[in-house]
Every structure is written in structure tokens, then in C-alpha cells.
């Protein structure tokens, strides 16, 4: 075998191994989910979409679950609520993280690694345990209420746990590093002489910020927003631990259909619709990732 052919086979093996893994365990499962969402559930086992009987292949597609989902206002309201909470979380993360990332990016360069490590350190600590910590802080007899009562600021405990407030707080808390890091990455690379030029040409600092800094950090804003928004739509653990009856989210509905009702086709339907809802943000995110790879590689 010539050296060229060998190199070609090497390249194929290099690309092929991870590709095959992803095709079998990421893409194929989605097709299975779609198939099951249009199947019927017979007692415990679902019937196949394609059946082979008397020499005939019959394709039986059943969209009943999709009709149930659209007709039942409860599902639609839950989807809308999930999108709303995820959007609010991403927006609040952006408002907190932007000035923060800006400060780190403009601090002396020898101090930046330590500051970034302080951002990452909580992220390395268990996500689950950090959410649990908010339960202790926000409970009716929790740390915050006890402090406020002791200071005499309130007469009786404020209800903070199991409300939209505790839910969004928990999601902001967990996902904010995903907003800070991409913002920091774009802000630190920015050419500061552009700002000087703008100021020399008579722009006020506010004008220079809105017309130069913000547009130049657009990529970081998009990446951060998607990194927070998309997983929050389907979040399960945070609403389960910090949310309440008014904050039912779609991740919980999927979980209950599967583990509670054992209705696999319905759970699959809920999942397919969730994927459809996040497919546009997902495509945006992928485009951004691909572009940043291409830029860095160039």
C-alpha cells in the first residue's frame, strides 16, 4: 500500500471513529424517538410503525399524540412557560454577566487568570449541590428569612422558595458562567485603539460603548444567550428542587409522562416538539460555533 493510500485510510479512521459514535448514539436515538412518537402503545410494548404481514409492508403512522398535545392547553401553556422562564434567565444572565465580563477583560492582564479561575471554581463544584444550597438559603425558615427577621426588617417570613423567583434565581446562578466565559472571550480580544479613535473623534464614552464595544461583542452575546437559553428550556433538576406548582416546566412533563404514566409515545412526542422549538436557536448556536472554529483556524 502506498504512503498516500495509508494516509487516506488514517484520515478515514480518525474522522470515522467519533463520527460513527455520534451517528449511533446521538442521531439514531432521535430517529427512534420520532418513530416511537408516532407509534401506538399497546399495553406495555409499542407496536412498530412498519409491520410485515402477509407479504405486505404496512406503514402505520399515528399522529394522535401530536393532536392531543396541541388540543390540550396544558401542554401548550407549559411550553410557553418554559420558553418564558428560559428567556428571562438568559436575559438576566446577560445583564449581570456583561459588566462583569467587561471588568475582568479590562483588569490588569496578570490578574485575569485568577479572576477567571474564581468564576470557574463554583462551576467545577457539584451543580446539584449548589442548587440544593439555595433551598437552605431561601426556605421559609431559611438563612435569608432568619437574617431579615433578626434585623427586624420583616415581621414574618417572606415566601421565596417554590416560586418563579427561586426558579429563575437558581437557573441564573447555575448557568451564569456559560454567559460570562464567551462574553469575556470576545471582550478581551477587542482592539482598544478603536475606542480611543472613537473618543478622539468626539464620541462620548456611552456612544463609544454602544456603537463599538457592543457590536464587536455580538458573537459572545449570541453564544452566551444560546448556551443559557437552550438548556434552560428543558431544565429538570432546578425546577424540581426550587420551583413550585406554578412553575411546571416541560422537562418535568416529559419526565412524568415517562416515569409516572409509562406513556412512552407521549414522552417521545413531548421531546420531539421540544426539539422543534429549540431547533432555530440550536442552528444559530451551531453556526456560531462553526464560524468561530473557522476563524480561529484561519
Amino acid at each position: 500500500m502506498s504512503a498516500n493510500a495509508l494516509a487516506r485510510w488514517g484520515a478515514r479512521a480518525l474522522i470515522g471513529a467519533p463520527m460513527l459514535f455520534l451517528l449511533s448514539f446521538f442521531l439514531l436515538p432521535f430517529l427512534v424517538v420520532f418513530k416511537i412518537s408516532v407509534s401506538e402503545m399497546d399495553t406495555v410494548f409499542f407496536r412498530d410503525v412498519l409491520t410485515w404481514a402477509d407479504g405486505l409492508i404496512t406503514l402505520k403512522v399515528n399522529f394522535a399524540n401530536y393532536f392531543i398535545l396541541v388540543e390540550d392547553g396544558l401542554y401548550l401553556a407549559t411550553y410557553a412557560r418554559s420558553l418564558g422562564y428560559a428567556g428571562a434567565t438568559a436575559l438576566i444572565c446577560l445583564l449581570i454577566a456583561y459588566p462583569f465580563a467587561y471588568c475582568i477583560a479590562r483588569s490588569p492582564s496578570e490578574r485575569r487568570p485568577a479572576l477567571l479561575m474564581m468564576v470557574m471554581l463554583p462551576f467545577w463544584t457539584s451543580f446539584l449541590l449548589r442548587i440544593y444550597a439555595w433551598k437552605i438559603l431561601l426556605a421559609d425558615s431559611g438563612v435569608f428569612n432568619q437574617m431579615l427577621l433578626a434585623l427586624g426588617l420583616i415581621a414574618e417570613p417572606i415566601k421565596m422558595m417554590n416560586t418563579p423567583f427561586s426558579l429563575v434565581l437558581g437557573m441564573v446562578y447555575c448557568y451564569i458562567p456559560f454567559m460570562i466565559l464567551p462574553l469575556y472571550a470576545t471582550l478581551v480580544k477587542m482592539d482598544l485603539s478603536l475606542l480611543e479613535a472613537a473618543l478622539d473623534l468626539g464620541a462620548t464614552p456611552a456612544q463609544a460603548f454602544w456603537r463599538i464595544t457592543v457590536p464587536l461583542s455580538k458573537n459572545g452575546i449570541i453564544a452566551g444567550f444560546m448556551l443559557v437559553f437552550i438548556p434552560c428550556v428543558g431544565e429538570f433538576v432546578i425546577p424540581e428542587l426550587l420551583g413550585g406548582p406554578q412553575t411546571l416546566m416541560i422537562g418535568r412533563v416529559l419526565w412524568d409522562e415517562f416515569f409516572g404514566n409509562n406513556d412512552w409515545p407521549m414522552a417521545a412526542t413531548v421531546a420531539v416538539v421540544m426539539v422543534l422549538l429549540i431547533i432555530v436557536p440550536l442552528a444559530l448556536f451551531n453556526k456560531h460555533q462553526a464560524e468561530s472554529h473557522a476563524r480561529a483556524g484561519a
Binding site: F30, P99, C103, L115, S126, F236, G251, Q289
Partner: protein, 277 residues
């Protein structure tokens, strides 16, 4: 100007307090003598002592540790292969799909990944009679997630590496595998190390994928913690949290100090080499 700088300082302090307050609270309360988590009953180590008898938690920890170790190895292997192919080959059939599949698990809600992988495994099981849900299926799910993170970490390091180093090795007569092991691998080994640690902690912490993919007798530590936290606050969870925080802080600080030192040494060697040349 002065006031703007102090405003920036205040904002950074506020955000850091927000990030660390829950962690500090957990650590302090793990030493609380009172069985009521939120009322202070003096300092005590009784919950740490109780943890040593907590068989459920200990068994879960053992299982999680084993899964996390294997997950970190397999994720880093697949992630490095994926990063190398994306870095080396700018154009091949299916590259767009490949990039999409590598990046999607970073943001895809875990309930969707868990459900779809489980339904696939159940379908396979009905056809071939295996695999049983348990250790191996959790490992598979965690690897899918970990691989995406490992790819991002290794790829961003590969993009910083100057291609002239590999070209020089080739010009000097190295074969492709030699170039990889003598030049590329030493340059990215730190990123591989970070990716290993990152995927290890991700796996050690995962609830949702594990819940979908576990079977009877394979209850990981996060599943145990989650089911206790669901019921309310519990002193046992506080002690686990405090231990986790201690271990993670020491490991992360030590790793970053070691990496910074290695980086400085390499930079010095590179600078010296350039001076010679």
C-alpha cells in the same frame, strides 16, 4: 474615572458573593450540630461521623467514581479524535453534520438526550436481548456528553498551536504518527488533562442522564443526593457538599498551578530555542 473604577470593583464583588454565598453556607452548615439544617446548634462533626455509616451514599459514591473515571478516559479519547479531525480536515463529506453533532450535546436539554438514548437502548435490547440498563449504559450516556466538552477544550488548544511546528517536524522527515506523538501531543497534553478533569466532574455530578439510563442496583451518588434533596434539606447532603467543595478546590487550584508552571517552562524553552535559531 476613579468612581467608575470603584463601581466596577463593587459589581465584581457583588457577583462573586452571589457565586460563592451558597457554597460557603453549605460548608458552614455541614458542621451544624442541630438536626434542623437551618437552625444553628453549635459546631459539631456528628454528620461527618454519620456519613461513614451511610451505606447508600458510600455505595453510590463508589459507583459514581468508577463511572466518572471510565467516562473521563473514553470522552477524552473520542473528543481528541474529533478535535483532531475538525482541526486537520477543513473539508470532508458530512463535516457540517459532524460539527452539529459534536456541539449539540453542549446545549441540548439532558431530558431529551436521556430519553432518546434510553429508547434506543430499549429497542436494541428487544432485538438482541442486551444491554441491560446499568453501569455500561450510564457510562455510554456520560461519554456522549463528555465527548462534546472534551472536543471543545482540545480543539481550542489545537487552534492556538502554530502549524509551523508540525510542518518543521515533517520537513525534518517525521512520519505523520511521529509528528503526532513527538510534536502535537506534547503541545495539547495540558488541554487533554483539563478535558479529563472536566468530564470527570461532569460525570460525577450528573443526575438526569443517570436516572434515565440506570437500572436496578445502579444508583449513583447524585441520584441518591437528588432524591434526598427532593424531600427537603438533609444534614447528610451538607456533609457530602462540604467534602466535594474541599476536594474540588484543592484539585482545581493544584492543577492550575501545575499547568501554569509547565506553561511557563515551555514558553521559556520556546523563547530560548528561538534565540538560538
Amino acid at each position: 474615572m476613579k468612581s467608575r473604577q470603584s463601581l466596577a470593583g463593587v459589581w465584581m464583588a457583588v457577583v462573586f458573593v452571589f457565586l460563592y454565598l451558597p457554597i460557603v453556607t453549605l460548608v458552614v452548615l455541614s458542621f451544624n450540630a442541630s438536626p434542623m439544617v437551618t437552625s444553628w446548634g453549635g459546631w459539631s462533626l456528628r454528620w461527618y461521623e454519620a456519613l461513614t455509616h451511610d451505606q447508600e451514599m458510600i455505595a453510590g459514591f463508589r459507583l459514581s467514581l468508577a463511572i466518572a473515571t471510565l467516562t473521563a478516559c473514553s470522552s477524552v479519547l473520542l473528543g481528541t479524535l474529533a478535535a483532531l479531525s475538525l482541526h486537520r480536515f477543513k473539508r470532508f463529506r458530512g463535516r457540517t453534520l459532524f460539527v452539529g453533532m459534536v456541539n449539540a450535546p453542549l446545549v441540548m436539554p439532558e431530558v431529551i438526550i436521556g430519553l432518546s438514548l434510553l429508547l434506543l437502548l430499549v429497542s436494541v435490547q428487544r432485538l438482541f436481548g442486551f444491554p441491560e440498563r446499568g453501569f455500561a449504559t450510564i457510562w455510554l450516556g456520560h461519554t456522549l456528553l463528555g465527548m462534546a466538552y472534551a472536543t471543545v477544550v482540545v480543539l481550542s488548544r489545537l487552534q492556538e498551536v502554530s502549524p509551523s511546528l508540525e510542518e518543521a517536524a515533517q520537513d525534518l522527515g517525521c512520519r505523520p504518527l511521529q509528528v503526532f506523538f513527538l510534536v502535537t501531543l506534547p503541545l495539547i497534553v495540558q488541554a487533554i488533562g483539563s478535558a479529563w478533569l472536566l468530564t470527570f466532574t461532569l460525570s460525577l455530578d450528573d443526575v438526569v442522564l443517570s436516572a434515565f439510563l440506570s437500572g436496578p442496583g445502579s444508583t449513583t451518588m447524585p441520584i441518591t443526593i437528588f432524591s434526598r434533596a427532593r424531600l427537603g434539606v438533609s444534614p447528610s447532603v451538607n456533609t457530602v457538599a462540604a467534602i466535594t467543595v474541599a476536594v474540588v478546590s484543592v484539585a482545581v487550584v493544584a492543577a492550575s498551578v501545575l499547568m501554569a508552571r509547565a506553561q511557563r517552562r515551555r514558553d521559556q524553552e520556546m523563547a530560548a530555542a528561538y534565540r538560538l535559531g
